[in-house]
Protein backbone atom coordinates (compact mmCIF):
# COMPACT_ATOMS: atom_id res chain seq x y z
CA UNK A 1 0.00 0.00 0.00
CA UNK A 2 1.19 3.50 -0.81
CA UNK A 3 2.32 5.69 2.08
CA UNK A 4 0.11 8.76 2.30
CA UNK A 5 1.16 12.15 3.55
CA UNK A 6 0.03 15.68 4.24
CA UNK A 7 2.04 18.61 2.92
CA UNK A 8 1.88 21.89 4.86
CA UNK A 9 3.29 24.78 2.87
CA UNK A 10 3.56 27.31 5.69
CA UNK A 11 4.27 30.10 3.20
CA UNK A 12 0.63 29.79 2.13
CA UNK A 13 -0.90 29.52 5.59
CA UNK A 14 -2.96 32.56 6.56
CA UNK A 15 -3.97 31.30 9.99
CA UNK A 16 -7.64 31.23 9.06
CA UNK A 17 -8.29 28.21 11.33
CA UNK A 18 -10.62 26.55 8.84
CA UNK A 19 -8.63 23.36 9.40
CA UNK A 20 -9.30 23.64 13.11
CA UNK A 21 -13.06 23.85 12.60
CA UNK A 22 -13.07 21.07 10.01
CA UNK A 23 -11.17 18.83 12.41
CA UNK A 24 -13.55 19.63 15.25
CA UNK A 25 -16.60 18.99 13.13
CA UNK A 26 -15.51 15.82 11.39
CA UNK A 27 -14.34 14.28 14.63
CA UNK A 28 -17.45 15.39 16.47
CA UNK A 29 -15.48 17.12 19.18
CA UNK A 30 -16.95 18.84 22.13
CA UNK A 31 -16.46 22.59 21.80
CA UNK A 32 -14.85 24.43 24.66
CA UNK A 33 -14.11 28.10 25.21
CA UNK A 34 -10.65 29.54 24.98
CA UNK A 35 -8.77 31.50 27.61
CA UNK A 36 -7.11 34.71 26.46
CA UNK A 37 -3.34 34.30 26.29
CA UNK A 38 -2.06 37.44 24.52
CA UNK A 39 -2.19 35.69 21.15
CA UNK A 40 -4.52 34.91 18.27
CA UNK A 41 -3.92 31.21 18.85
CA UNK A 42 -7.12 29.30 19.69
CA UNK A 43 -5.64 27.28 22.54
CA UNK A 44 -2.28 27.37 24.24
CA UNK A 45 -1.77 23.77 23.25
CA UNK A 46 -3.36 20.69 21.73
CA UNK A 47 -6.09 19.11 23.86
CA UNK A 48 -7.92 15.78 24.04
CA UNK A 49 -10.77 17.45 22.14
CA UNK A 50 -8.57 19.63 19.94
CA UNK A 51 -6.20 17.79 17.63
CA UNK A 52 -5.29 20.40 15.08
CA UNK A 53 -3.87 23.71 16.29
CA UNK A 54 -2.38 26.54 14.29
CA UNK A 55 0.47 27.98 16.27
CA UNK A 56 0.93 31.73 15.91
CA UNK A 57 4.43 32.99 16.53
CA UNK A 58 5.51 36.58 16.34
CA UNK A 59 9.19 36.88 15.58
CA UNK A 60 11.67 39.29 14.18
CA UNK A 61 13.69 37.47 11.56
CA UNK A 62 16.63 39.29 9.97
CA UNK A 63 15.20 42.56 11.25
CA UNK A 64 11.82 42.03 9.59
CA UNK A 65 8.57 41.65 11.48
CA UNK A 66 7.21 38.15 10.96
CA UNK A 67 4.10 36.42 12.11
CA UNK A 68 4.57 32.74 11.50
CA UNK A 69 1.61 30.42 11.38
CA UNK A 70 1.98 26.69 11.27
CA UNK A 71 -0.59 24.02 11.84
CA UNK A 72 0.39 21.53 14.50
CA UNK A 73 -0.90 17.99 14.81
CA UNK A 74 0.26 14.35 14.84
CA UNK A 75 3.19 13.95 12.46
CA UNK A 76 2.56 10.26 11.69
CA UNK A 77 6.20 9.27 12.07
CA UNK A 78 7.58 6.22 10.28
CA UNK A 79 9.44 5.37 13.49
CA UNK A 80 6.70 6.35 15.90
CA UNK A 81 7.74 7.08 19.47
CA UNK A 82 4.19 6.61 20.69
CA UNK A 83 4.06 3.05 19.38
CA UNK A 84 7.44 2.36 20.87
CA UNK A 85 6.31 3.55 24.28
CA UNK A 86 2.85 1.98 24.25
CA UNK A 87 2.50 -1.09 26.49
CA UNK A 88 -0.90 -2.16 25.22
CA UNK A 89 -0.75 -4.19 22.04
CA UNK A 90 -3.09 -2.82 19.37
CA UNK A 91 -3.76 0.48 21.10
CA UNK A 92 -1.62 2.35 18.62
CA UNK A 93 -1.24 0.91 15.16
CA UNK A 94 0.62 1.92 12.09
CA UNK A 95 -1.62 1.33 9.12
CA UNK A 96 -0.31 0.05 5.82
CA UNK A 97 -0.57 3.57 4.41
CA UNK A 98 1.66 4.95 7.14
CA UNK A 99 -1.06 6.53 9.28
CA UNK A 100 -0.40 6.15 12.99
CA UNK A 101 -3.82 5.55 14.46
CA UNK A 102 -5.18 5.01 17.95
CA UNK A 103 -7.58 2.20 18.71
CA UNK A 104 -9.16 3.49 21.86
CA UNK A 105 -10.73 0.13 22.75
CA UNK A 106 -7.22 -1.05 23.54
CA UNK A 107 -5.97 2.18 25.05
CA UNK A 108 -5.40 1.90 28.79
CA UNK A 109 -4.66 5.59 29.29
CA UNK A 110 -1.15 5.14 30.68
CA UNK A 111 0.03 8.15 28.70
CA UNK A 112 3.40 6.63 27.86
CA UNK A 113 2.77 7.62 24.23
CA UNK A 114 2.67 11.27 25.30
CA UNK A 115 6.14 10.92 26.69
CA UNK A 116 7.33 8.79 23.81
CA UNK A 117 6.21 11.30 21.19
CA UNK A 118 9.04 13.58 20.06
CA UNK A 119 6.48 16.18 19.03
CA UNK A 120 4.47 16.09 22.28
CA UNK A 121 1.20 15.51 20.46
CA UNK A 122 -1.09 12.92 22.15
CA UNK A 123 -3.35 14.19 24.92
CA UNK A 124 -4.93 12.23 27.77
CA UNK A 125 -8.52 13.02 28.54
CA UNK A 126 -9.13 13.17 32.28
CA UNK A 127 -12.77 12.39 31.53
CA UNK A 128 -12.46 9.21 29.46
CA UNK A 129 -8.94 8.25 30.58
CA UNK A 130 -8.01 7.65 26.97
CA UNK A 131 -5.46 9.33 24.77
CA UNK A 132 -6.43 11.32 21.68
CA UNK A 133 -4.70 12.76 18.67
CA UNK A 134 -5.09 13.38 14.94
CA UNK A 135 -5.78 10.22 12.98
CA UNK A 136 -5.09 11.87 9.62
CA UNK A 137 -8.79 11.13 9.21
CA UNK A 138 -7.99 7.45 8.67
CA UNK A 139 -11.74 6.87 8.36
CA UNK A 140 -11.97 9.31 5.44
CA UNK A 141 -8.75 8.15 3.85
CA UNK A 142 -9.99 4.55 4.01
CA UNK A 143 -12.86 5.43 1.68
CA UNK A 144 -10.79 7.54 -0.66
CA UNK A 145 -11.44 11.00 0.79
CA UNK A 146 -8.78 13.45 1.84
CA UNK A 147 -8.53 14.43 5.52
CA UNK A 148 -11.01 17.09 6.67
CA UNK A 149 -8.37 19.78 7.21
CA UNK A 150 -7.13 19.39 3.67
CA UNK A 151 -10.63 19.43 2.24
CA UNK A 152 -11.32 22.80 3.84
CA UNK A 153 -8.03 24.68 3.40
CA UNK A 154 -8.80 27.74 1.28
CA UNK A 155 -5.29 28.63 0.13
CA UNK A 156 -4.05 25.15 -0.84
CA UNK A 157 -1.53 25.44 1.95
CA UNK A 158 -2.50 21.82 2.69
CA UNK A 159 -2.17 19.02 0.18
CA UNK A 160 -2.81 15.32 0.55
CA UNK A 161 -1.31 12.52 -1.51
CA UNK A 162 1.40 9.92 -1.74
CA UNK A 163 4.42 10.67 0.38
CA UNK A 164 6.80 10.31 -2.53
CA UNK A 165 4.89 12.85 -4.62
CA UNK A 166 4.52 15.33 -1.81
CA UNK A 167 8.15 15.08 -0.79
CA UNK A 168 9.03 15.92 -4.38
CA UNK A 169 6.61 18.86 -4.44
CA UNK A 170 7.90 20.10 -1.11
CA UNK A 171 11.46 20.09 -2.29
CA UNK A 172 10.50 21.85 -5.50
CA UNK A 173 8.68 24.50 -3.51
CA UNK A 174 11.67 24.97 -1.22
CA UNK A 175 13.86 25.47 -4.29
CA UNK A 176 11.42 28.10 -5.57
CA UNK A 177 11.61 29.92 -2.26
CA UNK A 178 15.38 29.79 -2.32
CA UNK A 179 15.30 31.28 -5.81
CA UNK A 180 13.06 34.03 -4.43
CA UNK A 181 15.74 34.96 -1.93
CA UNK A 182 14.77 32.84 1.07
CA UNK A 183 18.09 31.09 1.24
CA UNK A 184 17.19 29.18 4.40
CA UNK A 185 14.00 27.71 2.95
CA UNK A 186 13.67 23.98 3.25
CA UNK A 187 11.63 20.89 3.95
CA UNK A 188 10.93 19.66 7.47
CA UNK A 189 9.95 16.01 7.69
CA UNK A 190 11.76 14.56 10.68
CA UNK A 191 14.50 12.32 9.30
CA UNK A 192 15.36 11.55 12.94
CA UNK A 193 12.12 9.56 13.28
CA UNK A 194 12.48 7.79 9.95
CA UNK A 195 10.57 10.57 8.20
CA UNK A 196 7.17 11.99 9.10
CA UNK A 197 4.10 11.65 6.95
CA UNK A 198 3.35 15.27 7.65
CA UNK A 199 5.79 17.35 5.64
CA UNK A 200 6.36 21.06 6.14
CA UNK A 201 7.80 23.63 3.78
CA UNK A 202 9.39 26.36 5.88
CA UNK A 203 10.81 29.71 4.77
CA UNK A 204 13.17 29.57 7.70
CA UNK A 205 13.97 25.88 7.83
CA UNK A 206 17.13 26.68 9.76
CA UNK A 207 15.02 27.67 12.76
CA UNK A 208 11.94 25.42 12.97
CA UNK A 209 11.58 26.41 16.65
CA UNK A 210 10.25 29.81 15.58
CA UNK A 211 7.30 27.90 14.08
CA UNK A 212 6.86 25.90 17.28
CA UNK A 213 8.42 22.77 15.77
CA UNK A 214 11.18 20.81 17.54
CA UNK A 215 14.61 21.47 16.05
CA UNK A 216 15.73 17.91 15.43
CA UNK A 217 13.03 15.46 16.48
CA UNK A 218 14.09 12.05 17.72
CA UNK A 219 12.43 9.47 19.90
CA UNK A 220 13.61 10.62 23.36
CA UNK A 221 16.79 8.77 24.35
CA UNK A 222 15.33 7.78 27.70
CA UNK A 223 12.49 6.04 25.90
CA UNK A 224 14.92 4.30 23.57
CA UNK A 225 17.08 3.26 26.52
CA UNK A 226 14.03 2.05 28.41
CA UNK A 227 12.72 0.01 25.51
CA UNK A 228 16.23 -1.22 24.55
CA UNK A 229 19.17 -1.86 26.90
CA UNK A 230 17.10 -1.53 30.05
CA UNK A 231 14.78 -4.26 28.92
CA UNK A 232 17.72 -6.60 28.44
CA UNK A 233 19.15 -5.63 31.77
CA UNK A 234 15.83 -6.34 33.42
CA UNK A 235 15.44 -9.66 31.66
CA UNK A 236 18.94 -10.59 32.78
CA UNK A 237 18.15 -9.71 36.38
CA UNK A 238 14.84 -11.57 36.52
CA UNK A 239 15.82 -14.65 34.59
CA UNK A 240 19.34 -14.63 36.00
CA UNK A 241 17.99 -14.36 39.55
CA UNK A 242 15.62 -17.28 39.14
CA UNK A 243 18.21 -19.40 37.36
CA UNK A 244 20.83 -18.68 40.00
CA UNK A 245 18.38 -19.66 42.75
CA UNK A 246 17.64 -22.95 41.05
CA UNK A 247 21.30 -23.73 40.54
CA UNK A 248 22.11 -22.70 44.11
CA UNK A 249 19.42 -24.94 45.48
CA UNK A 250 20.59 -27.88 43.44
CA UNK A 251 24.18 -27.42 44.52
CA UNK A 252 23.81 -26.28 48.15
CA UNK A 253 20.26 -27.02 49.15
CA UNK A 254 18.70 -25.42 52.22
CA UNK A 255 20.64 -24.33 55.29
CA UNK A 256 20.70 -26.82 58.14
CA UNK A 257 20.34 -25.71 61.74
CA UNK A 258 23.57 -25.93 63.78
CA UNK A 259 25.66 -26.36 60.71
CA UNK A 260 28.06 -23.95 62.34
CA UNK A 261 29.06 -27.01 64.25
Amino acid sequence: MQTVAKLIDTTLCIGCKACEVACQQWNDQEYTLGVFQNTYQTMPDLAPNFWNLIKFNEAEINGAQSWLMAKYQCMHCADAGCIKACPSPGAIVQLGNGIVDFNRDNCIGCGYCITGCPFDVPRLSPKTKKVYKCSLCSDRVAVGLEPACIKTCPTSCLTFGSRTDLKFLAEKRAEELKADGFTQAGVYDGPGVGGTNVIYVLKHADQPETYGLPKDPHIPWTVSLWKGPLKWLGNAVFLGGILTAVLHFVKFGPKEEHHRG
Binding site: I108, W226, G234, V237, G253
Partner: protein, 203 residues
Amino acid sequence: MDSRLERFTVPERVTHWLVAICYVYAGLSGLALWSRAMWWLAPVMGGGENLRGWHPIAGVIFALLLAMQFRRWAAQMKLDADDRKWLAMSGRYAMHDEHGVPESGRFNAGQKMLFWLQSTSAIVLFATGAVLWFPEVMPRGLRLISILVHPLAAVASMGGIIVHIYMTTVVVQGALHAMTRGYVTEGWAKSHHAKWFRQVTRQ
Protein backbone atom coordinates in the same frame (compact mmCIF):
# COMPACT_ATOMS: atom_id res chain seq x y z
CA MET B 1 10.08 -28.40 75.67
CA ASP B 2 9.12 -24.73 75.55
CA SER B 3 11.76 -23.32 73.30
CA ARG B 4 9.66 -20.99 71.16
CA LEU B 5 10.87 -17.43 70.70
CA GLU B 6 8.74 -14.64 69.27
CA ARG B 7 10.45 -13.48 66.11
CA PHE B 8 7.92 -11.05 64.58
CA THR B 9 5.05 -9.30 66.36
CA VAL B 10 1.55 -9.32 64.94
CA PRO B 11 1.77 -5.73 63.59
CA GLU B 12 5.12 -6.56 61.99
CA ARG B 13 3.70 -9.57 60.28
CA VAL B 14 0.49 -7.87 59.15
CA THR B 15 2.42 -4.97 57.70
CA HIS B 16 4.84 -7.29 55.94
CA TRP B 17 2.14 -9.25 54.25
CA LEU B 18 0.14 -6.22 53.22
CA VAL B 19 3.30 -4.78 51.78
CA ALA B 20 3.86 -8.06 50.02
CA ILE B 21 0.39 -8.13 48.50
CA CYS B 22 0.74 -4.58 47.19
CA TYR B 23 4.18 -5.36 45.96
CA VAL B 24 3.08 -8.39 44.07
CA TYR B 25 0.21 -6.55 42.46
CA ALA B 26 2.29 -3.50 41.60
CA GLY B 27 5.12 -5.70 40.46
CA LEU B 28 3.11 -8.01 38.23
CA SER B 29 1.02 -5.20 36.78
CA GLY B 30 4.24 -3.27 36.36
CA LEU B 31 5.67 -6.18 34.44
CA ALA B 32 2.69 -6.03 32.10
CA LEU B 33 3.36 -2.34 31.51
CA TRP B 34 7.07 -3.02 31.21
CA SER B 35 7.04 -5.30 28.25
CA ARG B 36 4.57 -6.46 25.68
CA ALA B 37 6.00 -9.95 26.27
CA MET B 38 4.46 -9.74 29.72
CA TRP B 39 1.13 -8.27 28.54
CA TRP B 40 -0.49 -11.67 29.16
CA LEU B 41 -0.43 -10.65 32.81
CA ALA B 42 -2.79 -7.75 32.09
CA PRO B 43 -6.05 -9.75 31.98
CA VAL B 44 -4.99 -11.52 35.17
CA MET B 45 -4.37 -8.15 36.85
CA GLY B 46 -7.86 -6.88 36.02
CA GLY B 47 -7.47 -5.88 32.40
CA GLY B 48 -5.50 -3.04 30.85
CA GLU B 49 -7.63 -0.12 31.95
CA ASN B 50 -8.05 -1.32 35.55
CA LEU B 51 -4.44 -2.25 35.72
CA ARG B 52 -3.51 1.30 34.70
CA GLY B 53 -5.81 2.61 37.37
CA TRP B 54 -4.82 0.23 40.17
CA HIS B 55 -1.07 -0.01 39.65
CA PRO B 56 -0.35 3.45 41.02
CA ILE B 57 -2.89 2.99 43.81
CA ALA B 58 -1.19 -0.24 44.84
CA GLY B 59 2.04 1.69 44.65
CA VAL B 60 0.80 4.37 46.99
CA ILE B 61 -0.52 1.87 49.54
CA PHE B 62 2.74 -0.03 49.26
CA ALA B 63 4.68 3.15 49.89
CA LEU B 64 2.58 4.08 52.93
CA LEU B 65 2.92 0.63 54.49
CA LEU B 66 6.57 0.51 53.68
CA ALA B 67 6.98 3.84 55.42
CA MET B 68 5.44 2.29 58.56
CA GLN B 69 7.76 -0.64 58.28
CA PHE B 70 10.65 1.74 57.81
CA ARG B 71 9.87 3.62 60.98
CA ARG B 72 9.62 0.38 62.86
CA TRP B 73 12.80 -1.27 61.59
CA ALA B 74 15.12 1.50 60.42
CA ALA B 75 16.97 1.71 63.74
CA GLN B 76 17.53 -2.06 63.78
CA MET B 77 18.82 -2.01 60.23
CA LYS B 78 21.98 0.00 60.84
CA LEU B 79 25.07 -1.89 59.73
CA ASP B 80 27.71 -2.49 62.38
CA ALA B 81 31.31 -3.72 62.11
CA ASP B 82 30.21 -7.36 62.25
CA ASP B 83 27.72 -6.73 59.48
CA ARG B 84 30.38 -5.29 57.26
CA LYS B 85 32.55 -8.32 57.92
CA TRP B 86 29.54 -10.53 57.26
CA LEU B 87 29.01 -8.86 53.93
CA ALA B 88 32.62 -9.35 52.99
CA MET B 89 32.20 -13.03 53.72
CA SER B 90 28.70 -13.36 52.30
CA GLY B 91 30.02 -15.79 49.69
CA ARG B 92 30.77 -18.33 52.40
CA TYR B 93 27.33 -17.71 53.91
CA ALA B 94 25.81 -18.46 50.56
CA MET B 95 27.72 -21.73 50.33
CA HIS B 96 26.54 -22.68 53.84
CA ASP B 97 30.11 -22.61 55.06
CA GLU B 98 29.64 -20.13 57.86
CA HIS B 99 32.97 -20.73 59.47
CA GLY B 100 34.32 -17.36 60.54
CA VAL B 101 31.20 -15.54 59.37
CA PRO B 102 30.16 -13.18 62.18
CA GLU B 103 27.03 -14.01 64.06
CA SER B 104 23.96 -12.00 63.21
CA GLY B 105 21.61 -9.97 65.32
CA ARG B 106 17.85 -9.85 64.72
CA PHE B 107 18.57 -9.24 61.07
CA ASN B 108 21.63 -10.39 59.27
CA ALA B 109 23.54 -8.01 57.02
CA GLY B 110 21.91 -9.47 53.90
CA GLN B 111 18.48 -8.72 55.28
CA LYS B 112 19.60 -5.25 56.22
CA MET B 113 20.88 -4.65 52.71
CA LEU B 114 17.55 -5.84 51.34
CA PHE B 115 15.81 -3.40 53.65
CA TRP B 116 17.84 -0.47 52.40
CA LEU B 117 17.54 -1.56 48.80
CA GLN B 118 13.77 -1.82 49.04
CA SER B 119 13.44 1.45 50.94
CA THR B 120 15.56 3.34 48.46
CA SER B 121 13.92 1.88 45.40
CA ALA B 122 10.50 2.51 46.94
CA ILE B 123 11.29 6.19 47.29
CA VAL B 124 12.45 6.33 43.69
CA LEU B 125 9.46 4.34 42.48
CA PHE B 126 7.09 6.54 44.39
CA ALA B 127 8.57 9.79 43.09
CA THR B 128 8.85 8.70 39.48
CA GLY B 129 5.54 6.87 39.67
CA ALA B 130 3.76 10.03 40.73
CA VAL B 131 5.17 11.72 37.63
CA LEU B 132 4.04 8.91 35.35
CA TRP B 133 0.63 8.75 36.99
CA PHE B 134 -0.38 12.19 35.69
CA PRO B 135 1.30 12.58 32.32
CA GLU B 136 -1.13 15.33 31.33
CA VAL B 137 0.05 17.66 34.08
CA MET B 138 3.63 16.64 34.76
CA PRO B 139 6.40 18.47 32.93
CA ARG B 140 7.80 16.63 29.97
CA GLY B 141 11.38 16.68 31.27
CA LEU B 142 10.38 14.90 34.47
CA ARG B 143 8.35 12.37 32.53
CA LEU B 144 11.28 11.61 30.28
CA ILE B 145 13.52 10.91 33.31
CA SER B 146 10.84 8.97 35.15
CA ILE B 147 9.99 6.72 32.29
CA LEU B 148 13.56 5.43 32.48
CA VAL B 149 14.26 5.59 36.21
CA HIS B 150 10.97 4.01 37.33
CA PRO B 151 11.57 0.66 35.64
CA LEU B 152 15.25 0.85 36.55
CA ALA B 153 14.34 1.08 40.22
CA ALA B 154 11.80 -1.69 39.75
CA VAL B 155 14.41 -3.98 38.27
CA ALA B 156 16.70 -3.36 41.21
CA SER B 157 13.89 -3.90 43.66
CA MET B 158 12.64 -7.07 42.05
CA GLY B 159 16.14 -8.45 41.75
CA GLY B 160 16.37 -8.11 45.53
CA ILE B 161 12.95 -9.62 46.04
CA ILE B 162 13.83 -12.70 44.05
CA VAL B 163 16.74 -13.30 46.43
CA HIS B 164 14.50 -12.51 49.41
CA ILE B 165 11.82 -14.96 48.43
CA TYR B 166 14.32 -17.67 47.58
CA MET B 167 16.16 -17.26 50.83
CA THR B 168 13.10 -17.12 53.04
CA THR B 169 11.12 -19.89 51.46
CA VAL B 170 13.70 -22.34 50.32
CA VAL B 171 17.10 -21.74 51.82
CA VAL B 172 16.38 -20.76 55.37
CA GLN B 173 13.78 -23.25 56.48
CA GLY B 174 11.53 -21.79 59.14
CA ALA B 175 11.94 -18.23 58.04
CA LEU B 176 8.59 -18.22 56.28
CA HIS B 177 7.03 -19.72 59.38
CA ALA B 178 8.57 -16.92 61.42
CA MET B 179 6.78 -14.37 59.24
CA THR B 180 3.50 -16.29 59.13
CA ARG B 181 3.13 -17.59 62.68
CA GLY B 182 5.60 -15.20 64.32
CA TYR B 183 7.82 -17.57 66.32
CA VAL B 184 10.92 -19.67 65.82
CA THR B 185 12.61 -22.41 67.81
CA GLU B 186 15.56 -21.67 69.98
CA GLY B 187 17.67 -23.88 67.78
CA TRP B 188 16.68 -21.90 64.69
CA ALA B 189 17.46 -18.67 66.42
CA LYS B 190 20.77 -19.93 67.68
CA SER B 191 21.88 -21.11 64.34
CA HIS B 192 20.67 -18.18 62.19
CA HIS B 193 20.66 -15.19 64.51
CA ALA B 194 22.93 -16.13 67.42
CA LYS B 195 23.48 -12.60 68.65
CA TRP B 196 19.76 -12.02 68.70
CA PHE B 197 19.21 -15.31 70.49
CA ARG B 198 21.55 -14.22 73.25
CA GLN B 199 19.87 -10.84 73.47
CA VAL B 200 16.39 -12.22 73.87
CA THR B 201 17.40 -15.06 76.23
CA ARG B 202 19.76 -13.01 78.44
CA GLN B 203 17.16 -12.39 81.12
